[in-house]
């Protein structure tokens, strides 16, 4: 039983990262109509940003949780202003190729300087150690990642579905021309939305640094699964991407316990099944 709970926890942790990343992808896709293949590279940049802050400036984990998403988010907004904005109205393929190219360049630059092996990033003192829950041993940091990710996901959902700003965003997703004709600066909103999605990816990167180490290809490995999660959940649905992210993490964890051989493929098998039955995804609106 101990092993089952341990795999469930690993599943929840992975689910946290899936949820944070697919949430950002969903927000970006809704507003920019771009499938952001640079997402994994930006996640990696978040982790590296935390690493630099600690090793160059001596700034620790807690400030990095705020600073890294902002820094990487600004980098994302510069990408949007200088490149992505020119793709609006074009076929999805252009955005996909451009962001894929950006991902390769960013990962290549980091690999050039840091190789492919992982750099260590210590768990902050406050979150070291673990708790014995009776039925299992819970490392505090891992519990923190799950809870904090859940809080950030719910806060993002609330921002988009329940606030005035979110209403502007949903309206601009539907009909940007009309929203702009009401006097709302839609291009600026698009830039900020991309910054938000990228910031969420960078935040996930910081959270993962103490667990998975900091590696130039850490995002490239993860993003393939995240895209499968997005396809299953349905592009453009906020709550859908959160729930699917956590659920698939857990399903992956369970598979590791009951049938370990399939744990790497279970997500993709589910993706195929969902695509066969419901091509728009479980919660997606028809494209």
């Amino acid at each position: 039983m101990q092993a089952l709970y341990a795999q469930l926890l690993v599943g929840l942790i992975n689910g946290s990262f899936y949820a944070l990343l697919s949430l950002g992808l969903a927000v970006i896709f809704g507003m920019l109509n771009i499938i952001n293949f640079a997402h994994g590279a930006l996640y990696m940049m978040g982790a590296f940003c935390a690493y630099f802050l600690l090793n160059i400036a001596g700034i620790g984990y807690w400030p990095a949780l705020i600073i890294a998403p902002i820094v990487v988010g600004i980098f994302g907004m510069i990408l949007e202003r200088t490149m992505l904005q020119w793709l609006s109205g074009l076929d999805h393929l252009y955005g996909l190729l451009l962001t894929f190219g950006i991902a390769l360049i960013v990962q290549g630059v980091f690999q050039n300087y840091f190789g492919s092996s992982g750099l260590p990033y210590a768990i902050p003192d406050e979150l070291k150690g673990g708790m014995n829950l009776g039925f299992m041993f819970l490392p505090v940091y891992r519990g923190w990642v799950v809870v904090f990710s859940l809080v950030v996901c719910i806060a993002t959902w609330y921002l988009i579905e329940k606030t005035r700003l979110g209403a502007n965003l949903r309206a601009a997703t539907e009909n940007p021309t009309l929203v702009r004709a009401f006097g709302i600066n839609v291009p600026r909103m698009i830039t900020l939305t991309y910054g938000l999605g990228v910031g969420l990816a960078a935040l996930a990167g910081v959270l993962s640094a103490p667990i998975n180490q900091v590696r130039p290809l850490m995002g490239a490995d993860l993003i393939i699964v995240v895209f499968a999660v997005v396809v299953i959940g349905g592009m453009g649905s906020i709550m859908g991407s959160i729930i699917t992210g956590f659920a698939l993490g857990v399903i992956e964890g369970l598979t590791k316990y009951f049938y370990p051989e399939a744990s790497n493929t279970v997500v993709f098998v589910l993706m195929v099944l969902v695509l066969l039955v419901k091509p728009a995804g479980l919660t997606g609106r028809a494209a």
Binding site: R164, A171, E174, N175, T177, L178, A181, F182, G183
Partner: protein, 242 residues
Amino acid sequence: MAEAAAKPAGAEILSVSDLQAWYGESHILHGVNFNVKAGEVVTLLGRNGAGKTTTLKSVMGIIGKRTGSIRFNGQDITRASSDRIARMGVAFCPEERGIFASLDVRENLLLPPIVRPGGLSLDQIFELFPNLKERLNSQGTKLSGGEQQMLAIARILRTGARFLMLDEPTEGLAPVIIQQIGHTIARLKSEGFTILLVEQNFRFASTVADRYYIVEHGKVIDGFANSELSANMDKLHTYLGV
């Protein structure tokens, strides 16, 4: 309301001259000339595809390529972006109504930002359109066609814009609702709003308009006041083919 009082009646609010506009490669407007004075209701009449909607969209700044001159309150807005034009006090109610499906009625109503003081309060809006108050939490596109049209007009009355462009507000609606929209337009006019209307429904237009322009093949080919209407009836039948 203060602003309407400050502006002498009859001052030109909008003047459009030699306006040309393109949708991609197709040249739609070939030199449109007309003007709208403060407090007037002016109607653009014409057949389908004559360029009436394109004229409104060009004034609003949402047609990509446009040349000529559009002046609003004396300022040149020919090249301005649509969000800037909206912030100068121009409001647009599109033909397809543009109610957002992912927003409820309240969110739809509150979506356009206040661009200047003097807009209607929510209470005043519910007095004009009582139906909306009962449906505030419904999804925007779950409303009936008439309610959607009322919502589309209501939401631009909040913003403080004093110049309204309404694109075929009566299209596809029942007579009793058309009548209600007619009363609303008359009420807005009496409160000093200036309205540029596009209509196919000439009988409706004749109940609210001060002046008419006839649009054909992307040009304004004629114009007359409501008082000259009976004298121009024959011409009008020829223009509109009714």
